[in-house]
Amino acid sequence: MSPDPAFTPEQQQEQPMSATPSDGPADVRVSPTAAATRSASDAAAAEQVGSGHSMSVKDVDAYYGETHAIRGVSIEYRANEVTAMIGPSGCGKSTLLRCLNRMHEEIPGARARGQILLDDTDIYGPGVDVVSVRRAIGMVFQKPNPFPTMSIFDNVAAGLKLNGVKGVDMKERVEKSLRGAGLWDEVKDRLSSPGVGLSGGQQQRLCIARTIAVEPRIVLMDEPCSALDPIATLKVEDLIHELKRDYTIVIVTHNMQQAARVADTTAFFLLGDMVEHTKTEDIFSNPQDSRTEEYVTGKFG
């Protein structure tokens, strides 16, 4: 883990990125940083196998048409840590999360500007393929969304099949992912039954298994427990602790207790701005900003 000064503000340079929305202005400019560091990052990636990866967001703005949902946010997500993003509903947590694997641009009229690095590679850089970005940065959604037409096995295998994994290899990978998601013992006898037949908590863990099956570098989670009961929530939270060994995790939650339970660091957002990002203990016990304090003490939100 690199001991970089994660919480000092970044030097903020104008760095437009190509968000390639289907009909927005194609705001492409060659990013010198990305081009220069490409080969270096490849070498670094080779060395880093076995450890996690970090992400850094630099001065990102995100829009829905005219709505300015994220306002110049910069934030670091450190390798093999869980970073929680909290804040009142509508403050832009999901929007920022979706910028991290370029899902934001799937919404018609939505666009983003700024720079987001996975290790040293700008994921919005020129020549970067969104498909490979999303394979490298997996996402778990708020509502469990297993493919309704697929069995448990096929759900986990879906991403693997796309990448040409077959046969015994596939079986092993599916089992490994289900074990990784703490679901194997519960479903090993009914792998061919429909994924939507599982309970909500199991479905969410199935979605986590599906996400980690393709071995992403980063796992993003958007309020993964908000549709679950307390016991299922606890299971997913335990799972997040487990996953931290292999993955860098970014989790959006509106539940401060959850952030306190699972996150190493927590960032507080308000109205599209990031107000404060620091160690989780500190944000709850010793917030620097008065707005953070008001929020964590329940004065609003």
Binding site: V131, F141, N145, R210
Partner: protein, 344 residues
Amino acid sequence: MDAGAARLDTADRSSFERSASARRADPLFRGGLTVLAGLVLVLLAFFFVFLIVKARPALAHQGVFSFVFSNDWNPSKDVFGAWPLLAGTLITSAIAMVIGVPVAVATALFITELCPVRLRQPLTILVELLAAVPSVVYGLWGVFVLIPKLRGTESSFADSLHVLPFVGGNVAGPNYFIAGLLLAIMILPIVSAISREVISTVPAEHKEAALALGATRWEMIRIAVLPYSRSGITGAALLGLGRAVGETIAVVLVIGNSTVVGKQIFDQGYSLAAVIANEFGEAANDPLHAGALIAAGLLLFVLTLIINGVARALVVRAERRQGTRLPPPTVTAAAMADPEVTAA
């Protein structure tokens, strides 16, 4: 206010109704509308029975099985084996499906999943315009444009690809293929519109799940969109088939009206609907012949009932999932209630 109204719904509403001044007007209103709805059913049943009654003499004369399956339609000799007609209906409809359904589904997928949002509505309207063209106009176009302009292409196709089944030999001017092609164009807007409705019911969360796994657009369509909408698209295709089977005027103009079953797709033929339109004039003074035509209509009716019954069941399954009814299988009306089109 909403919540209050909803609460009224359960317990209090009936008492409010009872307290209403016009105690007799309400049951009358309700009864009238119910009777109206019932009358439509009665009328449909009446027509069906009457059709059977009128077809019966001819069916008794020929025998039901022989009417459907014997290959000899010769009204001047009072022989009514409708197989050449049924075969023509099936052949032309099959050609229409083979050509029309893939194009329609491709169009539906392109409009819902690939094209820029601002092109959705214009494209939808354009495809829908195909449905605004009356069948007699398609027939006119078929007779004076398609038949002469496609003759050469058909010939070279027949010569070079004669290894294919049902291809090869002389190309007749009017033929099964031309009729099938016209039908393909005519079913395209319906199949496309209903497919579009069905595809747009695929929840965004499934599509996002696929994309977030690192699927390409096409892979997203393949793993999230198509499996989910398969039964609905099949239903759409079947509704198109029902339409193709029943189409009369366009077909009668370009199929050649020959009672000999063709050996290949460029031969002349006939269809159930075409024979009715074509021969009913001469049959006016020949009750047996008229009966046979009515029997052909009955056969057509039953055929479309079965096809549409299955199609509806499939589309209804898609509706259930969506939680609302899909709009009518008339393209124009479908687009009218398309939330995407209306919201744009």
